[in-house]
Amino acid sequence: MKYIIEHMEPGFTPWVVLEYSTIIKEVGKENLILTSLPEGTTEADIPQELIDLGIQWTTDECISIAESRQSLCLLDPAASQDLTPSDSEKFEYFVFGGILGDHPPRDRTGELRKKYGLEGRRLGELQMTTDTAVRSTQLIIQNQIKFEDITFIDYPEIRFNRYEATEMPFRYVMDKTGKPILPDGMIALIKKDTEQSLDDLL
């Protein structure tokens, strides 16, 4: 069972690098492939942390990885069916959109849906981060746990100090201590975002 991430954000920003690093560490570098990188991408364009972790990447599209389209499953919030443990027999590759989501979601996964026409499966109604989606898929497919049996925490609020907190409008998998599972260094990055100004966006 392999995980394919269609790279959809321009470039590699710290957030994207952190999420991808976490995914590689959790699923193993041989099980993850980054696809649809822009034409002409070379090893120099990939961040060092990802190269050190042994990321596999290609400028090809995800459909060229598998022999037939039927073995590819797109994880799509707009799909009509939920992902179940039995789908492990049907699909070999699981495709995710490498999207930094908006709230409310703008359905950018739809671009993949329209482009490739793959069969879709849903992971609940709430938006998840890419690493959470891969983690949930791994729990369902590899560990054969049903979606309803996974403990999630929705819209967690991360408190930095008495005056400041940030709410992340996504669903996360909950760990044993009751906290959301976030990539290492993500909390520091979220805190750093408050120091940004609008000029940093334009």
Binding site: T166, M168, D193, T194, L198
Partner: protein, 243 residues
């Protein structure tokens, strides 16, 4: 407006719509002047519109030019007779307690390139210094190269529900339109109930237990008679008469 007989219900609705349109127009037009709200007073002869803002000088303009323009606009739009509508500009007292003003101020700070945390903390500090009980500032949206999130900055004491929430809390939301989406700004200010001029002066579940009064000495009972004096006087008078 011409004198026609309208039913009370229609009149009330029309008043509401009038107020809403004025408020919306002034919010857009006077945003940079610290606009905070309008008040409409109808007298038999005129309709008085009082504009509350922090920078009344710019609302008035040079020699009152701008406010005359606004008056003409209002008069033409609502087809009011000449001279029947007057606009006044009033300075907002305690602009630190006006959620609308603070929200606009935060919006301008962000548009001028200030860091989100610095701008938000600035507002929080100013509001608390103005004597508010509590304040909450929320900036929500998607920054580039990050996921959507809601950044919350708060200080002091805040309640969220019930009648006191309607009495003591003022909220304002504004949108900052960016190229890739919208950033939402919300400011919620809870004013000090003790400083309220009308209505309740404390939260309903606030119980003040008074100190017991000092024990005073209870004196022994005594009789004070009011009848004694005239009897003595009459006797004295009798004695003098016979003497």
């Amino acid at each position: 407006m011409p004198e026609v007989l309208i039913s009370k219900k229609r009149k009330l609705v029309a008043d509401g719509v009038f107020y809403a349109e004025l408020n919306e127009y002034f919010t857009r037009e006077l945003a940079e002047d610290g606009y905070s709200g309008v008040e409409v007073r109808v007298t038999p002869t005129t309709t008085e519109i009082i504009i509350r803002a922090t920078q009344t000088n710019s609302v008035l303009g040079e020699n009152g030019r701008r406010i005359r323009e606004l008056t003409a606009l209002v008069q033409k739009r609502f087809k009011i007779d000449e001279g029947k509508v007057i606009l006044y500009a009033e300075r907002v007292q305690d602009r630190g307690l006006s959620a609308v003003t603070q929200c606009e101020s935060l919006r301008y700070k962000l548009l001028n390139g200030l860091a989100i945390r610095r701008a938000a903390y600035g507002v929080v500090r100013f509001v608390m210094d103005s004597g508010a009980k509590g304040v909450e500032v929320v900036v929500s949206g998607k920054l580039r190269a990050a996921r959507a999130k809601s950044m919350k900055f708060a200080d002091g004491f805040m309640i969220h529900s019930g009648q006191p929430a309607k009495d003591f809390i003022e909220t304002a939301t504004r949108h900052v339109l960016l190229r890739q989406g919208v950033l939402g700004i919300k400011v919620k200010i809870m004013r000090d109930p003790a400083a309220a001029r009308t209505g309740p002066k404390a939260l309903p579940d606030f119980v003040k237990i008074h100190e017991p009064k000092d024990e005073r000495e209870v004196p022994a009972p005594f009789v004070k008679s009011y009848v004694a004096e005239p009897v003595v006087e009459a006797e004295e008078a009798e004695e003098q008469a016979t003497a």
